[in-house]
């Protein structure tokens, strides 16, 4: 059964800062204000039009608790309803889900979601480790770093093919990031550097190399949601939220058995299957025109492609090897450059929704997909294995 909604909800305003490793020139609320101002300008609204602000990031990255209080200086929530959300890496995606729900319910007509992080202000890996169960796992974990996905792919397809697929994916993301003026990291990599990078990029954990891991960025993203009536009044190109799904998994890390007799529940696969089934989408690879995927590292990305689209054998690797995921390919993935390109964690999953919506509107900028984008998909990832997926549509006709 599809998501039940009292009324349709559209995205009518999007604002993003330039993501960067050094925004020493602004403090936290000032950085947020940049994104909020851009979103208001994009929607041609003022703060007076906003009924509710949904604010999110992860406290342990900056160690400012209840940051929504201080951030009021930048969020504009002064004297307004403000709801704060933290769900880990998925927080940005959850902000979008919550804003959709708050608007669809009839509670508010116009809701603004703000995702934010200034990762340079804390220690990302040290911070993440503090999310683990303090009774035992805090002492063992190494942040979000693991080479297990690499091990997976390598076991199945051999080290050489696996490494080349990972680097190909990485370089495609770099090429996309090069087109996105807001992207944090764009190195100007080329495919002829694959062998060199495999050899020289320092290893972090197992086969996971520095070049393959996501960036640590300062940045903010703001998205404005409106009910159908208001969205049509305010915007010429509202992007409709068709459905979203959240799937959680227990916190324990009992996923490392590596035995085909004992398959591990994969939340991406599980979420995608349910979402597509309840919306009657039989061939998602053909249905969607763009996919903004939360890709913390290229290894995870190549492995997850298979989960999201239920691909068989080496279809997922072929999509990468044949560059079908590049702008201009069969299903462009992350025209924005993805999480590998920019990663202000509390904003990251909201940027996926925002970038997917910009593609649907057709005004993403230099990284706009040249062919029409009618159906877009965005994913979020967090915690030990949590998934949030959001489907966006150009027309209200499903």
């Amino acid at each position: 059964m599809a998501h039940k909604k009292n009324r349709n909800v559209g995205i009518i305003g999007i604002g993003q800062t330039k993501h960067s490793s050094h925004r020493e020139d602004v403090n936290q609320p000032e950085l947020i204000h940049e994104a909020v101002s851009l979103a208001l300008k994009d929607a041609n609204l003022t703060m007076k039009d906003i009924d509710c602000v949904v604010h999110g990031n992860m406290e342990l990255f900056e160690m400012v608790h209840s940051p929504d209080l201080w951030h009021v200086l930048g969020t504009g929530a002064y004297g307004k309803d403000c709801i704060r959300i933290t769900t880990g890496g998925t927080v940005g995606a959850t902000l979008s889900c919550a804003s959709d729900n708050l608007t669809a319910s009839g509670m508010y007509d116009i809701v603004m979601a703000i995702g934010f992080e200034k990762l340079q202000e804390g220690h990302t890996t040290g911070g993440i480790t503090n999310m683990a169960d303090p009774l035992w796992f805090r002492k063992i974990q190494a942040g979000a770093l693991t080479g297990s996905s690499a091990y997976d792919v390598e076991r199945e397809f051999g080290l050489e093919r696996a490494n080349r697929a990972s680097l190909t994916y990485r370089i495609i993301m770099d090429k996309h990031a090069g087109l996105n003026p807001n992207a944090h990291r764009a190195f100007g990599l080329d495919f002829n550097q694959i062998d060199d990078l495999i050899r020289t990029s320092p290893k972090l954990v197992g086969e996971l190399k520095l070049i393959e891991m996501c960036s640590q960025s300062d940045g903010a993203c703001c998205v404005i949601f409106a009910c159908e009536k208001k969205a049509k009044e305010i915007s010429k190109t509202p992007v409709w939220i068709r459905d979203h799904i959240t799937v959680h998994k227990e916190e324990t890390f009992s996923i490392f058995g590596y035995n085909r007799e004992f398959p591990v529940m994969k939340t991406h696969k599980f979420a995608a299957e349910q979402l597509f089934k309840r919306n009657g989408i039989k061939d998602p690879l053909n249905y969607f025109d763009v996919f903004e995927m939360y890709d913390p590292a290229s290894w995870w990305a190549i492995d997850w492609l298979r989960d999201f689209f239920d691909l068989k054998g080496d279809e997922h690797l072929k999509l990468i090897e044949n560059k079908e995921i590049m702008i201009g390919g069969k299903l462009p993935i992350n025209p924005s450059g993805g999480v590998i390109g920019s990663n202000p964690i509390g904003a990251t999953a909201l940027i996926r929704v925002a970038e997917a919506a910009m593609q649907v509107r057709g005004n993403a900028g230099p990284h706009q997909i040249p062919t029409p984008v009618n159906h877009a998909l965005a994913s979020g990832f967090g915690g030990t294995m949590w998934t949030v997926m959001t489907m966006l549509e150009k027309e209200l006709n499903w």
Binding site: R23, E24, D25, V26, N27, Q28, P29, E30, H33, S37, T46, M47, L60, E62, M63, V64, V72, L73, G74, G76, Y78, G79, K118, Q120, E121, G122, H123, G126, G127, N130, P134, L135, R138
Partner: protein, 157 residues
């Protein structure tokens, strides 16, 4: 609770967090602190839409939501709006401040918002709301809010 937990003692497990942080003041607050440090002057930002003067300076006016681009000097003298007194040496009180410690909300002349700071050179029982106070600058200024050591009463002439 069923008897399956019989003989099992819950324990208290000691843990810790230890992570480095660095918070950037941004260009607006930096300018305020640097003027304080280098020139012993208190500066504030002004909203060009509502004319409100913010101290500590804010880059954005929270009600008009416009960027405060104008800087103004405010006086080092002002009025005590309200105050409170700590009579126990809490861990959060800096070690160079001994109880009784008086905190005041001080609205400096020329500013529209009040700023929290220490009151000193006065007995707690003599503090009154509405009294006039003046900033005393610290000797070794480092570019933070304690470059103002405290506020003291303006002596009656």
């Amino acid at each position: 609770m069923t008897d399956q937990f019989q003989g099992i003692e819950p324990m208290v497990y000691k843990s810790k967090i230890n992570v480095p942080y660095s918070w950037w003041a941004g260009d607006t607050a930096s300018k305020f602190y640097l003027t304080l440090r280098d020139e012993k002057k208190i500066t504030a930002t002004k909203c060009v839409a509502c004319n409100k003067v913010f101290l500590p300076p804010r880059k954005v006016c929270p009600s008009c939501f416009t960027e405060n681009t104008q800087w103004v000097n405010v006086s080092d003298e002002g009025t005590l709006i309200t105050f409170t007194i700590a009579r126990r040496q809490f861990a959060a009180i800096p070690s160079d401040r001994k109880v009784p410690v008086i905190w005041g909300l001080i609205k400096l002349d020329g500013a529209d918002t009040a700023m929290l700071h220490y009151l000193d050179e006065i007995k707690p029982e003599s503090v009154t709301i509405g009294m006039r106070v003046k900033a005393v600058f610290s000797e070794g200024r480092k570019g933070n809010i304690r470059d103002i050591s405290h506020f003291k009463p303006v002596s009656r002439v």
